[in-house]
């Protein structure tokens, strides 16, 4: 490859490549900064004194970081109770979704029954239905079974969803039939096969679904707001936070608002940092295999 006549031009090519690399690296850095800036600024502002948040030109980094704003948040909303409500909602909903999705996903992947593909299509179609389309009758329906203004009213309608069924079917389809047939020969019940044999072999997908469901329902806003009808005692943290914005309008409440936002962001973000591999794999799985 290093014929003497070509060395000059290849040096030039390498130089051009290095220039392109530097440009690309700069662009990537810019994108990363733009993406990370709002959250960094949120955390920094939550540690400022009220005077610092008002200053023009702005103080970017607090000189004497203080947790004052976090104390003030606890004065405006019941942080402990709201966090607990969010935890209850997200955990129970996630557990329900895991069970219903694994069962239905197993049936769609490994059982043959008439109307299977039709039923699957109907269920999957609900994945593309924006929640607002069903909100009005659902609100009335949940009220008529006596579940409104309660955590149960938030949780029960969300215990199964099409995305979970879809994801589980995709991954369970890859489990070898021989494994399942052998267990059937041994007389194991279908539920036992699902939880003892199928589940362990799709553990990463289950982890991904659990994380997705937890974060989604920790963050969800429209349905809890609608069904709780102003019952502040049962508010999840994301709804309690909305009260911070109206408290002290203007720049005065910036630290307060940022402290509250930081509190709400922490649980899903920590989960993400710990387990991001599963998140990414399952998105790729749902898109590529679909």
């Amino acid at each position: 490859m290093s014929a003497p006549g070509r060395s000059a031009s290849s040096r030039l090519a390498r130089k051009r490549l290095a220039g392109r690399g530097a440009l690309l690296a700069t662009l990537m850095l810019l994108v990363a900064v733009a993406s990370a800036f709002p959250l960094l600024w949120m955390v920094l502002s939550s540690l400022k004194t009220p005077a610092e948040t008002m200053q023009v030109p702005p103080v970017w980094i607090p000189r004497t970081p203080t947790l004052e704003a976090y104390e003030k948040v606890s004065g405006v909303i019941n942080v402990g109770r709201s966090m607990w409500n969010s935890l209850v909602i997200a955990t129970i909903t996630t557990a329900g979704i895991l069970v219903t999705s694994m069962m239905a996903g197993y049936a769609f992947a490994k059982h043959h029954f008439p109307g299977r593909s039709l039923l699957f299509s109907v269920l999957i179609a609900t994945m593309f239905l924006p929640p607002i389309v069903t909100l009005i009758p659902l609100y009335r329906l949940v009220g008529s079974i006596g579940l409104n203004a309660s955590l149960a009213g938030i949780i029960v309608p969300n215990l199964a969803n099409a995305f979970g069924i879809f994801l589980m079917r995709q991954f369970i389809a890859g489990v070898p039939d021989d494994l399942i047939d052998a267990a059937r020969m041994d007389g194991a019940s279908e539920l036992l096969i699902l939880f003892k044999i199928v589940a362990p072999s799709v553990a990463p997908a289950i982890a991904a679904l659990a994380l997705f469901a937890f974060v989604y329902h920790w963050n969800s806003y429209l349905w809890p707001l609608t069904v709780l009808q102003g019952n502040a005692h049962e508010y999840p943290i994301v709804i309690s936070l909305s009260r911070l914005l109206s408290y002290n309008r203007g720049a005065l409440n910036t630290g307060l608002v940022m402290a509250g936002a930081t509190l709400a962001v922490l649980p899903p973000l920590v989960l993400f940092v710990l387990l991001q591999r599963f998140f990414v794999d399952s998105i790729v799985g749902s898109a590529v295999k679909g």
Binding site: R20, A25, L27, M28, V31, S35, P38, W41, M42, S45, M54, V56, P58, S101, M103, A104, A107, H111, H112, L123, T126, F128, P130, I132, V133, T134, L135, I136, P137, L138, Y139, R140, L141, V156, P157, N158, A160, N161, I165, E190, L222, T226, V238, L241, S242, L245, A251, T254, V257, G260, A261, T262, A264, V265, L269, Q276, V280, V284, A287, V288
Partner: protein
């Protein structure tokens, strides 16, 4: 034996099918039924009385109900179009940055981009309401450094809707970048090697290999971006309340206000039916367009 498997399939399906049937499919059918009824959300379904197409006539009529709905429909269409137009190209550009191996840091960039997708919309709303603050917000400060005068962002009817699009794109772009990367990984490297041997430069490779082979991914991304875009709610409910002068009144906010807060269940349901129809038409058109392209 076949019979027992069928029975067990029924047991396996029962929980999910019952829940989705009762809490998604039944309400969807009720929405369609209610759109032809005069019904207050505060009363039982049995109080509804059939009024034919009156609700639809009203939401497209000349009264304030019609004006507000048509404005919300238009705002949502603009919002959705802007979102898709920003998300698709950005996801490909960021996807290429994450996917390439010339410069290190692709995976780190993916982590940073995707982390915003975990942030609850309410926190995004709180943070951006301060970032956009015309007087002491950092965005105007940064623009000031570049010699650009202060912008009104969410406070002006001309820029409020696009300001909300921007904060939504910021939050969601990581998800679409991951989708784009998934699509890029599927393209065989041998295609690029062959193209290089044939003397195709990078731009030509992008135009004739990357984009065509990414079209299925982009179609999927477009559908998801559209479905996400019509759901925008928190920034509107919290910061703008549909204003200034109706410029951010989008359908999810408007339908909830009419159907739940004002308890006009029939009217709200008719609006929800129109949204559903619009989505079906757009998604079918997208697929038809994509299939025709495939045939070419």
């Amino acid at each position: 034996m076949i019979k027992t498997y069928r029975a067990s399939a029924g047991i396996m399906l029962a929980p999910a099918v019952t829940l989705i049937g009762v809490f998604i499919l039944l309400p969807m059918l009720l929405t369609i039924w209610l759109s032809f009824q005069d019904w207050s959300t505060q009363t039982p379904f049995s109080n509804a009385s059939f009024i034919g197409f009156d609700n639809f006539r009203e939401i497209f009529g000349p009264t304030s109900v019609g004006r507000d709905f048509k404005r919300a429909l238009l705002n949502t269409a603009i919002y959705t179009a802007l979102s898709v137009m920003l998300i698709l190209p950005l996801s490909v550009v960021f996807g290429l940055m994450v996917h390439q191996r010339d410069v290190a840091g692709g995976t780190a960039l993916r982590t940073v981009l995707f982390s915003t997708y975990m942030v609850p919309m309410i926190a995004v709303t709180l943070v951006w309401s301060k970032l956009y603050s015309p007087s002491e917000g950092p965005l105007n400060q940064v623009l000031g450094l570049a010699g650009i005068g202060p912008q009104l962002w969410l406070s002006s009817p001309r820029s409020a809707l696009i300001s909300i699009v921007v904060l939504n794109v910021w939050q969601q772009i990581g998800y679409f970048t991951v989708l784009a990367v998934a699509g890029l990984t599927q393209i065989p490297g041998s295609l690029y090697e062959a193209a290089t041997l044939d003397g195709a430069n990078r731009r030509e490779q992008f135009r004739f290999i990357t984009l065509p082979l990414l079209s299925r991914t982009l179609l999927f991304s477009a559908v998801i971006a559209i479905i996400n875009a019509v759901q925008v709610f928190e920034p509107v409910a919290l910061i703008t309340q549909g204003g200034p002068v109706g410029s951010t009144n989008v359908l999810t906010y408007h339908i909830r206000r009419v159907g739940i807060e004002r308890a006009q269940g029939g009217l709200g349901s008719a609006m929800a039916v129109m949204l559903m129809l619009a989505l079906i038409v757009i998604v079918c058109a997208l697929f038809a367009f994509a299939n025709r392209k495939d045939d070419e």
